[in-house]
């Protein structure tokens, strides 16, 4: 049984990471055939799949916004995604709230003015969860949107920080999230440094929060690098297939 005291010993966290270390992160773009855009994020033991459909017509029509596209963000956890027993299918209160705050991220990052009266669906399916699924989901959603060719101001990046005792650490896993003292998931737009998602629980002083911000801004660069790598690899894969396509 993991206990709180195990979380931080001799400068190292339970899985051996230092405070600023991220878990291994792998992002793959264009993993689905039917969706306009898609991405798989494998972050530590998290696996989150994002898929984008649209821009498409809004139904019922009266919900359409004549000035911009509406974002339909959907964050959902598969019943087999957690380590405990089978969860219920379908959205619960937590996933509805996360869908809402995720929607706000994409409402900012997507150039919604370019597609009035349409809807863009961003689905974030958590296939396996181990702490930090909302930031993983939104990070995946960003790549899926770019993969779909939907215009973006920048790729939003998600990352969490948290307090374990007196240590502020980045990228909390499940144990740190559950047993630690505070959890701050954040999503930023790297180009401008704007905070697009910010939630928090626990008790933090202003100094704690300021430090968490700085750490997140620094760590976010590494996440963005992975997003870019995913999109670049997807393009190179396509180009390689094209070159091989001579035989077709």
């Amino acid at each position: 049984m993991v206990e709180k005291a195990d979380l931080f010993k001799n400068g190292k966290r339970l899985d051996g990471r230092g405070p600023m270390d991220l878990r291994p992160l792998k992002i793959t773009a264009g993993v689905l055939e039917r969706a306009q855009g898609s991405a798989l994020v494998e972050w530590g033991r998290n696996k989150v799949l994002a898929a984008v459909y649209g821009p498409h017509e809004v139904l019922p029509k009266h919900l359409a916004d004549p000035t911009k596209a509406i974002i339909n963000a959907r964050y959902i956890m598969a019943p087999f995604s957690g380590q405990e027993e089978h969860g219920r299918s379908g959205p619960n209160r937590r996933s509805i709230e996360i869908s809402k705050v995720a929607k706000h991220v994409f409402e900012n990052a997507v150039l919604v003015d370019q597609f009035p009266k349409t809807m863009i669906d961003v689905h974030m399916e958590v296939l396996q969860s181990d702490g930090g699924t909302r930031v993983a989901g939104i990070t995946a959603g960003a790549v899926a949107l770019a993969d779909a060719g939907i215009p973006l101001r920048d790729l939003p990046v998600g990352l969490s920080a948290g307090l374990i005792g007196e240590h502020m650490v980045l990228d909390l896993d499940k144990y740190e999230d559950n047993l630690g003292d505070s959890d701050m998931p954040m999503v930023i737009l790297p180009r401008t440094g704007e905070i697009l998602l910010s939630q928090m629980d626990g008790l933090l002083s202003r100094e704690d929060i300021s430090k968490a911000f700085d750490m997140i801004f620094q760590g976010a660069q590494k996440v963005r690098d992975k997003q870019i790598e995913a999109l670049r690899t997807s393009y190179e894969r396509m180009a390689a297939q094209a070159a091989q396509g001579e035989t077709q």
Binding site: R93, E97, K100, H104, T192, I195, L196, Q199
Partner: protein, 256 residues
């Protein structure tokens, strides 16, 4: 509703000049009034009013099965009902994303600061105390989160723990006030254009492009944070709002 939509442009113009429709300063709350014990059948209750917004909070105790991994811990559940009486756009039916968000944000503040000490709430073998905090939105003129958080905190202060006999609750009795370890209030900021203001009215919320709700606890701590809406906030704006939230805390505490 239509009226509020039309007003958007006007409100934005005022905001650009640092002004507001009702003449308030950017950091001024509207009149705040709290009435404890408003719904005496509940074990604790309070009606909170900020300007024209009204939220009634009722607290009921019960005996419940605890969570499997925390067998002696009491269970606190916060729910919000956006009653159709409060606004022409509220529909009867299951909670929508805004009402779920409000309930969870108020819950997080109370839980993070451990306002209610839920350790050792065993009532009998396999059963613990359950505390239901129900937020009834009765009138919506903006800033429901702060109003609801105020109602919840005041209701918690008003609450009397009933007696439990042989594993059952005995309604109408009291074994004393609910012990509280901290006091949490919420301050919400709206961003209109580049201007940030506190305690927005419904019309100001419609004109707003982003919101930050901060829960504060004792000792200068922030216990919850929820950013909403599409506008982004810079780190400096965020830290500034933390400072303002602590300032406003004094005014809000005085009302409970």
């Amino acid at each position: 509703m239509i009226l509020e939509q039309i007003k958007q442009g006007f409100i934005r113009e005022l905001a650009d000049k640092g002004q507001r429709e009702d003449g308030r300063g950017l950091l001024d709350y509207r009149a705040i009034k709290v009435t404890k014990g408003f719904a005496p059948n509940a074990e604790g209750s309070a009606l909170a009013e900020i300007g024209r917004s009204k939220v009634l909070c009722g607290i009921k105790f019960d005996v419940m099965t605890p969570f499997a991994d925390r067998p002696t811990e009491g269970v606190v559940m916060v729910n919000a009902e956006f009653s159709p009486v409060a606004h022409p756009e509220f529909r009867a039916g299951p909670p929508d994303e805004k009402s779920i968000e409000l309930a969870r944000v108020v819950d997080r503040g109370i839980r993070s600061a451990k306002v209610v000490n839920v350790d050792n709430m065993l009532v009998t073998e396999g059963k613990v105390q359950g505390i239901f905090i129900d937020l009834y939105i009765l009138d919506h003129d903006g800033n429901l989160i702060d109003t609801a958080a105020l109602a919840a905190m005041a209701a918690l202060k008003d609450a009397k723990v009933p007696k439990f006999e042989e594993g059952k609750i005995v309604r109408g009795t009291s074994s004393g006030s609910l012990p509280l370890k901290d006091i949490v209030v919420s301050t919400s900021f709206e961003k209109i254009g580049k201007t940030i203001m506190v305690d927005a009215t419904d019309a100001e919320e419609i004109a707003s492009s982003g919101r930050l709700s901060l829960g504060t606890a004792n000792d200068g701590k922030v216990c919850s944070s929820q950013k909403s809406g599409s506008a982004g906030f810079s780190k400096d704006e965020y830290l500034q709002m933390i400072d303002w939230a602590h300032e406003k805390r004094r005014d809000l505490l005085a009302k409970i």
